[in-house]
Amino acid sequence: MKKLYLLFVSALVLTMTAALCGCGGGKAGEGDAITVGIPQDIEDSLDPHTAVAAGTREVLFNMFEGLVKPDSSGDLKPAVASDYVIDDEGKTYTFTLRDGITFHNGAPVTADDVIASIKRCADTAGGDPLVAAFSNIADISKQDDKTVVITLKEPDTDFLCNMTTAILPADNIDNTATNPIGTGPYMYVSRSPQENIVLKRYDGYWGEKAYIENVTFKIIANPDTIVMNLEGGSVDMFPRVTSAQAAQLSDNFEIMEGTMNLVQALYLNNAVAPFDDVRVRQALCYAIDPKEIMDYAFDGRGSEIGSSMFPSFGKYFMPELNDTYNRDVEKAKALLTEAGYPDGFEFTIKVPSNYTQHVDTAQILKEEFKEIGVTADIELIEWNSWLSDVYSGREYEGTVIGVDASTLSPRALLSRFESTAGNNFVNFSSPEYDAAYKAAVSSTDDATQTENYKKCETILAEEAANVYIQDPAELVAINKKFTGYEFYPLYAQDISKIRLAK
């Protein structure tokens, strides 16, 4: 017993010493490494063609590039292609590959790799192609080793937006999920599920090389530990902290404010009663005040929106639509009476429980609806159930969610409201909208196209397709050791621009 006891004591003393020594040790070689916190692991795929989650795309942005890639102001810049020519009709796209560009494994990028990558995304064997717009491709061929020509079935001046599709080496294309190889400024090193994803600077990158050599994306699933991680020094940067977390952080951190690039709204199932009546939908729009929601749940931050478009889209965004409905309880009640609901009604808002921001918003909406006599019951559901019941099954009355754009084309936000769209989860149906949308898509003249997109937005607002709320503010907390963070109009965390602050 005594020996055993001594063993215990010595073991304990040893570990205590380890515990006390372990604390002070900072990161080795500070400066050539940054740790970025992310709220969830990459659970769909490391393959950029099959990855679907926005949280995955923002990490993969560092590893993969298309023929063109977006910059922080939202313009498409040549990437794997050094140059491209679009014929006047918008039917033939000719891409010249960049000289000397290589994949992370050192192999040069050839026209065959480009063709294999695009063909993979255009393949219709599984129903829809991976990139929906690629169904418009009539032919893709190589003119020579450095030139690829894509011919479309229908003219489309907006097609370039889809050329951000990642170019992968043809011989590794089916192994991308386990061994991702791309052309981006960072290359994949390793991953440990629910722990981290490690990237390293690719020194053979064609463009401006990244500043920081080693990047670790650390998964912090528990939001309560974000502040501790930042203050404790185990994480240098966290995109999307809440206002409350930002307020707790010390002076060592800079809080940068951008936009989340989401259309946050109370999405209504336009096909079920009472929301099949435009007056009822309008009444709900009159009942709410986005400013009040931002004040209560977002510390006054956020940008009001009035249709399915957010401010980062620049010329397509119509701020005037914010005033389509201003809060007017009397008018809302009048509309309800007209629609046959003088005493209001009761409905259920389904909200995915993992999104605090949407849950908070739903709670304020509920209070606002009370004033016009409408009772909203909030039902918190798991993300998985949201996907299957609400998004695919369309079995719901209302839901609060944020919809993001996967490309820089207004189509990314507007196509889903076409009455026949497969992802039209709100069941919006308006012949007028369909006509305007078709006109926009087929137009080759930029002015007419913009005008038609704006018409689409106006119809969504006037028909009150959904109760539009805001584009929430995105707060990025970054240690002041670093500088150079840039916001993108899409989901992207571009680490290559971040450098040490001197």
Binding site: G22, C23, E43, G127, A177
Partner: protein
């Protein structure tokens, strides 16, 4: 000896039953891994293609037989979310949870035994009274809350460790153990306090018995009387408690992993349930079942070593 054999066989049966139940549970609960993986990009065609790829279009009974056949050979299939074999995934994370559990178990035994003897030797002293109050308090603090308090005091206040600064055991064992001390402490404290109470009442009862006085009269020091004679008798009810505590600690470590940001089995388990990543969930639950049954078996064996009477009475 045949008794131990019986115990081993019943343990194996328990694990098999758990494996079956776990598989059937996921056949019953709603949710679809294909939907989870495809997210908002799901179309009926893509869903059915992916279900086929995952082998979910096969009838349940055949799926079950293939799975259980694999389990017996140690093959749990491949994770839907992480595109890697489940065995490799778990081999990576299991040591974290096992070390955390053992760590807290050792801490619990050490603190409870030393403090109980210290207090029992000086019954009704100031030391005794203060320990009584402190244990009453620690006993009622659940580990996750204790974890938060520990982080607050020792991490953010005294800077003895960096909260969230988990280091993988593969990159630096020393710093790994250093960090794990704190979560282990959070798990060990409430359990240690309970073990203390049991031991303390055992010791104070034993020390009034005749054999204790005999031990003294034979010239033993107080220390020797306590460690050599009283502890062994006071231990018997506590060992049963230790066994239950060990099983409890495996569960506790899953919770505490969330508080301290430790990427062990718990984190993987929770996210895999959300994603309906069945192969991973099933494998982890089978793993936990094995850990629990094995620890119970060990306690049974230990019991015989400490108290030979159990063997005779059988």
């Amino acid at each position: 000896m045949t008794n131990i054999l019986k115990k081993i066989i019943s343990s194996i049966l328990t694990i098999l039953v758990v494996a079956c139940l776990v598989f059937l549970a996921f056949a019953v609960i709603p949710g679809d891994p294909a939907v989870a993986k495809l997210g908002t990009q799901a179309t009926p065609e893509k869903l059915s293609a992916l279900r086929h790829e995952m082998g979910l279009d096969v009838p349940l009974i055949r799926r079950f037989l293939t799975w259980i056949g694999g389990v017996v050979r140690g093959d749990f299939g491949s994770s839907y979310s992480y595109s890697m074999p489940v065995t490799r995934l778990i081999a990576d994370k299991l040591p974290v949870t096992v070390i955390l559990t053992l760590y807290s178990f050792i801490l619990m035994i050490f603190t409870s035994v030393t403090v109980a003897i210290l207090a029992a030797r000086r019954e009704n002293s100031v030391l005794d009274r203060t320990t009584q109050v402190i244990t009453q308090m620690t006993m009622s603090v659940p580990p996750f809350f204790g974890g938060i308090i520990i982080t607050l005091i020792f991490g953010l206040g005294l800077h003895l460790f960096a909260p969230g600064g988990y280091v993988s055991y593969k990159s630096d064992m020393g710093r790994f153990l250093g960090y794990m001390f704190w979560p282990a402490l959070a798990i060990a404290l409430p359990k240690g306090a309970m073990a203390f109470s049991l031991l303390y009442s055992g010791l104070t009862a034993e020390k009034k018995k005749d054999y204790a006085r005999t031990a003294y009269s034979r010239g033993n020091s107080t220390r020797d009387v306590f460690y050599r004679h009283l502890l062994r008798n006071a231990c018997i009810p506590v060992v049963t408690f230790f066994g239950m505590a060990l099983a409890d600690m495996i569960a506790g470590s899953i919770v505490i992993e969330q508080v301290f940001g430790i990427p062990g089995l718990g984190r993987i388990l929770l996210t895999s349930i959300q994603n309906r990543d069945y192969p991973v969930v099933e494998a982890i639950i089978v793993c936990i079942a094995i850990l629990v049954t094995v620890s119970n078996l060990l306690v049974d064996i230990l019991y015989r070593v400490i108290d030979p009477r159990t063997v005779i009475s059988e």
